[in-house]
Subunit: 216 residues, 3 copies
């Protein structure tokens, strides 16, 4: 039993503050991932640039939400879950947003014109993981459907494994077939940013699993 | 209200231990950043090498100070701020020092002879952010001038944004104009280390903002 | 004196849960490092591939152990050391395992045929650091031989310094003599993963030093 678990018996938990913020952060990540999937499947460069800019704006929105969670954490002695878990979950979701924006930013800066299959697959996996992230976060507020949270977390872990596989295969192929070192660097960095986004989804899932264990 | 806030009413805070250490750490970073700016503006290679070595020495000094803060944190049950904030602030300042040294180390190892404008600009931004870091850290001990801390933190955030912009532009230019892949790698890594130093200054600013909120 | 130090006088510590898990995690890292040293010294490619696969399997074992430690941390209010130290130590040991596997994975994906001297030296240093890690972790359960822990930690720090030196020298040599940019990228990334493994050993040593200080 954690310190928070003891306090929760005599102090009302203020769930009204934290849960809507987490839900906003997760919805924002799903929107960003949706834009990313659109961008890597768009035929026109100008269309892509517009999507990159929309991703940028949503990343700023995500920063605001994360900042708000940290501020509330500083102001509230009693929190619905362990403080460290609230902090870690907020950070993990923010990192997913940062990496989606970072991937899009590199595609724009490096003037990537050819969207390869691994880029499209990884973007798709990020969207899938984000949707499960949002589902799980939405269930945190009452913990009535712990099984749903657990299942989303398991799916996120499986998606992350698939992303690892796609990334490893794609990088090996780059080293085998790409003779232009500068192109190789560009694609490798974009693939790495995309793959790391799924790692951060897994981090968020791990925090939620830990929350379930503590509050079971 | 945090656990520390409760304890602080009946246990005297030992500010004498932590604040001088934080001030030393911040002053050390300002000195390192000053040497870095000198190095990237020095015409002679031998002069630069001397400066790189001085940066190395100061990084060791910084390590000692950080280690001391961690040791004191282990020995003291009551701390002037939340333990996690003291740990995070010490780590962030130490990371800035590591990245300044890491940038200088790469310049030396990669035998960078031409100091480009983005390298000079980023080094300058690191120095500016370090000076604001030192100012803010210096105000932590009595929290009489919370506004000064807040203003330094806002400036650090703005400097980090400028550094992001300079970095993105410089990397895009490398991919556009640098045809030598090995040179591209060298410059890109140095720019990345410099830019990350400003990120860690922002991390330190975020911890200080959090300290202000909790102790307001 | 920490919060845990106070509680430990009236609540029995459950050492039976955490220490065997830490010991398993450390033994697992030593086994992984032993396989890595074998792989980078193996003459036949097929032999190496078998060793890489064994490393992969042990990394999964390590993940399970780390997950178990996190779960126990969630379930137990009283821990033998500060919760944050248990978490940090488990994370640092897991990171060492990840980086050994990551290094092996890159050697396999990049189809590295020539194992250079710096790769062999760094692998050897990882093994040495892992052995000291295991020794120190094994002494944590009774803290009767604090000096042994301290000496292992000092040796790990010294090994990390040697690894830094080998890495810096090897990367400088790559930039001086390797004209094939793609080969340079491959080797540089493998060297970086190996060197970072020793950094994470040092992180683990730092946590153990902190545990000694708090419980002295």
């Amino acid at each position: 039993m954690s310190l928070n678990s003891i306090f929760q018996y005599f102090v009302p938990k203020d769930k009204k503050i934290f849960f809507p913020l987490f839900e906003q952060a997760a919805v924002n990540v799903v929107e960003m991932a949706t834009l990313l999937v659109k961008a890597v499947n768009a035929a026109e460069v100008s269309k892509r640039e517009t999507l990159y800019q929309q991703i940028d704006k949503l990343e700023n929105v995500g920063d605001e939400i994360t900042h708000q969670i940290y501020l509330e954490l500083g102001k509230n002695f009693i929190t619905p879950f362990d403080r460290e878990d609230i902090h870690s979950l907020a950070t993990a979701i923010d990192d997913v947003a940062d990496l989606i924006q970072g991937s899009a930013n590199r595609m724009s800066l490096y003037q990537i014109s050819e969207m390869t299959e691994p880029i499209q697959k990884l973007s798709d996996l990020i969207l899938q993981a984000s949707i499960d992230l949002q589902k799980a976060v939405g269930e945190l507020k009452d913990l009535k459907n712990v099984r749903n949270i657990a299942e989303s977390c398991i799916r996120i872990n499986s998606i992350e494994n698939q992303a690892d596989y796609v990334f490893d295969r794609a990088v090996a192929d780059l080293f085998l077939y790409e003779k232009d070192a500068i192109r190789l660097i560009k694609y490798k960095e974009i693939l790495a940013a995309l793959e790391t986004a799924t790692d951060r989804c897994e981090d968020a899932a791990n925090v939620m699993e830990s929350i379930i264990v503590k509050n079971a």
